[in-house]
């Protein structure tokens, strides 16, 4: 009669799990996430109210002077006009806007034929200056 220790029999019956396929899948996931992360560029947004010129003039009874940033093309150069000042870059526009009262908001009146980047930079400057109410006024 042959007696065998219980422990050794357990060792013989132990199940083995082949991890090769799981590692393949994990690598596939890793490659997928690396590729998709490279392709997606981080995006943000600028929110502004919309008002057309017609509806803007209908509020003639308002008792304050609206603050308007004109975005125009002057002598082939994109220009910001605020009051009697002409500005050509974002930092100086932000500096001027910071000195204006914030409660009544600001209108950004955009002429046609200007690069979108330049026009949206005016909205960005208003946000950076602390304006909560920014209104985009398209001109056709």
């Amino acid at each position: 009669m042959r007696f065998q220790p219980r422990a050794s029999r357990t060792r013989i019956d132990r199940l083995t799990l082949n991890l090769a396929s799981m590692i393949d899948v994990t690598f596939l996931l890793l490659v997928y996430f690396i590729v998709s992360t490279v392709m997606a560029r981080p995006e943000d947004q600028l929110t502004s109210s919309i008002q057309t010129r017609d509806s803007e003039t209908s509020g003639a009874e308002i008792d304050y002077q609206p603050q308007v940033v004109e975005v125009v093309q002057l002598e082939g150069r994109s220009t910001y006009i605020i009051g009697d000042r002409m500005l050509h870059d974002l930092p100086s526009l932000t500096t001027v806007l910071k000195n204006l009262p914030k409660e009544i908001g600001v209108f950004v009146r955009v002429s046609p034929g200007i690069p979108v980047e330049f026009a949206l930079a005016a909205v960005q400057a208003a946000r950076d200056a602390g304006f909560q109410q920014v209104t985009y006024v398209p001109q056709l």
């Binding site: 396929s21 799981m22 899948v25 994990t26 596939l28 996931l29 997928y32 996430f33 998709s36 392709m39 560029r41 981080p42 995006e43 943000d44 947004q45 600028l46 929110t47 502004s48 109210s49 919309i50 008002q51 057309t52 509806s55 975005v71 994109s78 050509h88 870059d89 974002l90 955009v110 002429s111 046609p112 034929g113 200007i114 690069p115 979108v116 980047e117 330049f118 026009a119 949206l120 930079a121 909205v123 960005q124 946000r127 950076d128 985009y136 398209p138 001109q139 056709l140």
Partner: protein, 130 residues
């Protein structure tokens, strides 16, 4: 477990394809944007390409303004202006002529506010803005 992992792969692939489908490859203005912490639902996405053509998704053919107007009216029928969510993604070098036409159209169909897409410049810089 391998079944679940495969399911995850399929899920991520399908969702990322969908996201890419409505967001055309554009060079958005390199501006910081509002940098809000909470993310908002994109809603309807209007892409304006550098040449001024308008597309709602990558697989779509370019739309004329009257076709866009019809789509907008169909989409926002019965919605208040505060509920209508529109993201306008315009190429940085596109002309404001087309952007203004689209914004005016949004106003005409009752959308009170538009969100303009920007590309966050690397390292929080000002990017290509003047």
């Amino acid at each position: 477990m391998i079944d679940v992992v495969f399911l995850l792969i399929v899920f991520f692939m399908v969702t990322s394809e969908f996201a890419r489908d409505v967001r055309a490859e554009l060079e958005l203005p390199k501006l910081e944007g509002e940098q809000r912490d909470e993310s908002e639902e994109a809603g309807l996405v209007i892409n304006i390409q550098e040449d001024g053509s308008i597309i709602l998704s990558v697989s779509d053919t370019p739309l004329q303004l009257d076709e866009l107007e019809q789509r907008l009216r169909d989409t926002f029928q019965g919605q208040g202006s505060t509920e209508a969510r529109v993201l306008v993604r315009a190429d940085a070098q596109a002309s404001t002529t087309r952007l203004n036409e689209v914004v005016r159209l949004l106003h005409e169909v009752g959308v009170g506010a538009a969100r303009m897409g920007t590309e966050v410049p690397p390292m929080g810089g000002r990017g290509g803005a003047p």
